[in-house]
Amino acid sequence: MSQVVTTPLLQVSGAKITYPSRWRGGMPLHAVDGVDLSVSSGEVVALVGESGCGKTTLARAMLGLQPLTGGSIAFDGSPLPKSRAGLRAYRRKAQLIFQDPSGSINPRQSIYEIVAEGLRIHHERADEQQRVADALSHCGLRPPEQFFLRFPHELSGGQRQRVVIAGAMVLQPSLLVADEPVSSLDASVRGEILQLLLGLSRDRGMTILVVTHDLGVAWNIADRVAVMYLGRIVEVGTTEQIMAAPKHPYTKALLSVVPEHDRMEPQILTGETPDPTHIPSGCRFHPRCPLYQSGEAERLGVAQACTSDDPKLVDGVACHAAHR
């Protein structure tokens, strides 16, 4: 059987997003510092990292909400449009779920209006009511008609998130980017929202990119995981690979401190993630890297490289020690 090579649905190449300093002589902020990532149609990819790593900025760039300062993003083979009309057409196919469900809906609009907004923006009036009902119903708000005239403040956090997802679904996009979809929700409600997202991928073949700091979310629904640190992807692979056999020291440390992850000795890193205005030279992780600090890197003979060369993403990992 010959192998069919399909173009990935989303292809990010060397993406860079740099914010100039707010005052003179200050250092620019490298929110995203050279990211390569490809997402194939129908898969669920988790973009994992701590706050400040640039994952949200990258996600917004994928939707055209944030311009790139370098590199490119291609959707379905063509680069992201820059014109207004082009972006509008693109936004029918790619949707974003924001982090806080309460903040991203207008409290003065009824649930019906919120979900129908996408249809109205794109002038798709045919069967509007039916499509809104279907979207709400598919997202677990049944019977949908009961929700038409309700307002956001009458719903719980979990229900609001469903409304947001329904609002994105109603346009039937091919790509859904979800930024921390369950972080602000109660624990017992998380499962259902994650099930909903997983269902969208399995039943409707939707491609989903989940941005999260919670590795458990990745374990629950992701096919592949990309780990970000300080604007760069440091490791990428299938969820099983990353969780069971991580190769990058940062990934290992992250996994080790997840509570209840008994298999690994907790490696609590010292200090905090450095400021994106002062990215360390060489491998950006080396000042906090347990391998470097413990002398293991020296023994492996890569310590020099760690301080001077920026490791490239090879075989799914960007680490000199792992490359040996």
Partner: protein, 294 residues
């Protein structure tokens, strides 16, 4: 589907009315306003418009004290002061309302653009707004009135054309805040044009502010017109309350103690300004922008 939007507006209106009703001061103001409106509308019932003209050979006594025939006496050329006051209501209120409409329209538009647009457009709007904010209103109004004429409509346009700046500032501040809301970004992500965002999300957010602000501009406009009239502008033969006051002052009614001439228009001005201010303050409290997102 129109019904959810309609429903929501009905709910909002009902809520606002309920809050207003519980505010005693505001209700007092509303009653006063109703009285003044009645006065203005019923003017023809009390006196004929011709009473306001200066007619040679009028046999009315000049500056006569109130009597059975002339409830508020007469002015220095024998006109019935009661007629002047009652018809003056129309002029004062007309000028106040028209000036407000102009001020609110221009101010909201500029405030909207200044707040929503980015880059040089916004900066230019802001500069224009700054300019009009600090402009001394009286000299400008006098010059404009002398150039353009003295009819009530011109007066109203002149006042409105200078009073919009404060409201524009308020609108701009609110628009700036609304522009950053999460739901605006979501609308952008959905593919919305600026027009959609402004009409669906920004305008409904500033509308209450504009209404509250407008109700406070009206008394300001009425007072402004009174000031201008007092300085000599305005039409003697279709006088506003301010113009009647001016007549009282220039004819020496104060020294002659012709209280029936200067007291009624003065009290009317105070009364209507008070009424609008009471209602306006209540509306401002009800429409506090901090409560917009519940």
């Amino acid at each position: 589907m129109r019904s959810p939007a309609w429903n929501r507006r009905k709910q909002s209106a009902r809520r606002v009315w309920g809050q207003l009703r519980s505010d005693r001061a505001a209700m007092f103001g509303l009653v006063l306003l109703a009285l003044f409106a009645a006065m203005a509308l019923s003017a023809p019932l009390f006196a004929d418009r011709s009473e306001l003209q200066a007619v040679a050979g009028r046999d009315n006594p000049d500056l006569a004290a109130p009597s059975g025939k002339f409830w508020l006496g007469t002015d220095e050329i024998g006109r019935d002061v009661f007629a002047l006051v009652v018809w003056g209501a129309r002029v004062s209120i007309y000028i106040g309302l028209l000036a407000t409409v102009v001020a609110v329209f221009v101010g909201s538009l500029i405030g909207l653009v200044a707040g929503y647009a980015k880059g040089w457009v916004s900066r230019v709007m802001l500069a224009i707004d700054d300019f009009f904010l600090v402009l001394p209103f009286i000299p400008l109004a006098i010059v404009l009135a002398l150039l353009l004429g003295r009819s009530p409509t011109i007066m109203a346009l002149v006042i409105g054309g200078t009073f919009w700046a404060g409201g524009a500032r308020l609108v701009r501040a609110q628009v700036l805040s609304l522009r950053e809301r999460g739901y605006v970004e979501r609308a952008t992500a959905l593919g919305a044009s600026s027009r959609h965002i402004v009409t669906r999300h920004v305008l409904p957010g500033v509308a209450p502010l504009i209404i509250a602000n407008a109700s406070l501009i009206v008394p300001g406009a009425i007072l402004a017109e009174s000031t201008l009239a007092f300085l000599g502008l305005g039409d003697r033969f279709s006088p506003s309350w301010g113009k009647v006051l001016e007549g009282a002052q220039s004819s020496g009614a104060l020294t002659l103690n012709a209280w029936w001439y200067y007291l009624p228009p003065g009290l009317c001005i105070i009364g209507i300004v008070l009424a609008f201010t009471l209602v306006g303050n209540a509306l401002q409290r009800i429409f506090d922008p901090r409560l917009i997102d519940r």
